[in-house]
């Protein structure tokens, strides 16, 4: 996805995030204990400069960071991070939604299909992957409810951000043939 492309759904727009687009909302999320606990991230409220450096690092590593915005008011409500594996035509998605103000499945049920159609069509991606840490119950429920295949559970795959234990990761996959726009 180029850094200028914009995708739209009925209520939301998806835009690549550049360093100058780091929002106050995103800074707030990094200090939200519930959200960070779900994501298995430490609660450390980052500064704008920290997040700007992070955005630069993401794009440099050939990943993409895409913001989810309300179409009315342009409120920043979430983030997709996308890693592309061009050799196998796969993408790996990670998603964050501001759940203090929005219901995660309601947002992603609308934005996922548009994003996946974009990758299946413009980018010729053939499979999407999501690896969700066990603490992120809303995201696991969302993938289970929206047609993703649960491909397995990777036991004790990551360190817990807090406490001395390891967490499982649930692996989902989705073949994108059905997401492609019809070609003539």
């Amino acid at each position: 996805m180029s850094q200028t492309k914009e995708l739209q759904t009925k209520r939301f727009s998806l835009r690549p995030i550049t360093p100058d687009m780091v929002s106050d909302n995103w800074i707030r999320w990094t200090g939200d204990p519930v959200l960070m606990s779900q994501m298995n991230a430490r609660v450390v409220k980052l500064s704008r400069a920290d997040l700007q450096r992070y955005v630069v690092a993401v794009w440099k590593s050939k990943r993409m960071i895409i913001g989810i915005y309300a179409r009315t008011g342009a409120d920043h409500i979430g983030i997709y991070e996308v890693a592309v594996d061009p050799r196998n035509a796969n993408i790996t998605l990670d998603a964050l939604v501001d759940q203090q103000r929005y219901v995660l499945p309601n947002v992603l049920a609308e934005t996922d299909p548009v994003l996946l159609r974009f990758f299946a069509g413009d980018q010729r991606i053939e499979k999407a992957i999501a690896q969700v840490v066990e603490t992120n119950a809303p995201l696991i429920s969302h993938y289970e409810a929206t047609g993703w295949v649960k491909e397995g559970v990777l036991r004790q795959e990551v360190h817990a951000a807090s406490g001395n234990r390891r967490l499982d990761v649930v692996q989902f996959g989705r073949i994108l043939a059905s997401e492609q726009p019809e070609r003539t």
């Binding site: 050799r87 196998n88 035509a89 796969n90 053939e126 499979k127 992957i129 295949v149 491909e151 397995g152 559970v153 990777l154 036991r155 004790q156 795959e157 990551v158 360190h159 390891r166 692996q171 996959g173 073949i175």
Partner: protein
């Protein structure tokens, strides 16, 4: 960064030295390895001769990488490897992903894979405190699956149509095997093994 092998490390077992391959290890003796279907499938490449120049270029891709190693398996007192491990590390999660093949066919079934694997996991689990190892295996690679399951590994996921065959574009499934360090310690000496053939 904690959990990384020290510079210049090597691992020793009864019959082998396992150490990072350097450019000087490129040799005509390895040229046929990528013509072998087992190695071709494992590396998802196309069958071809692997020239010494290509070997040097490939080995160089691992130069200076602290979390990715191409380890050659050298019989003691020999300067030519019989196979390799590719080890990718995620030190933050104490997790390692391992790929392995024996390039020299005459060593297959000799117990070399098992002996070298034990040495590798002794090193990463017991010396560097890694907590888990993973291996990605094609569903039709029954020999590797047998080896892993007998060593206490478990199938954790079947990734559907996950790989794209480089030669045809056909998509293939992949099995993810995993073993926790504690389970490996329990299974280390229990696994059934094939009778070891005399070394070539």
């Amino acid at each position: 960064m904690n959990g990384l092998p020290p510079p210049g490390f090597s691992i020793e077992s009864e019959n082998f030295i396992i150490r990072p391959l350097g450019r000087a290890d490129a040799t005509p003796a390895m040229e046929a390895w990528t013509e072998d279907e087992v190695v071709v499938e494992m590396l998802n490449t196309t069958p071809r001769r692997w020239t010494v120049a290509e070997q040097v270029a490939y080995i160089s891709r691992y130069d200076g990488k602290r979390t990715r190693y191409l380890l050659g398996i050298f019989p003691k007192a020999e300067s030519t490897p019989i196979g390799f491990f590719i080890v990718r590390l995620r030190p933050h999660d104490q997790l390692m992903l391992v790929t392995h093949a024996l390039g020299r066919k005459e060593w297959r079934g000799s117990g070399a894979s098992r002996e070298a694997s034990i040495a590798i996991f002794d090193f990463f689990f017991n010396k560097l405190s890694y907590a888990k190892a993973k291996a990605n295996v094609r569903p039709d690679n029954r020999a590797m699956q047998w080896l892993l399951l007998n060593g206490g590994w478990r199938v954790e996921a079947r990734l559907q149509k996950h790989l794209r065959r480089s030669s045809t574009g056909e998509r293939m499934d992949m099995l993810v095997f995993g073993i926790l360090a504690d389970d490996w310690r329990v299974n280390r000496d229990l696994a059934k093994t094939v009778r070891r053939r005399a070394k070539p």
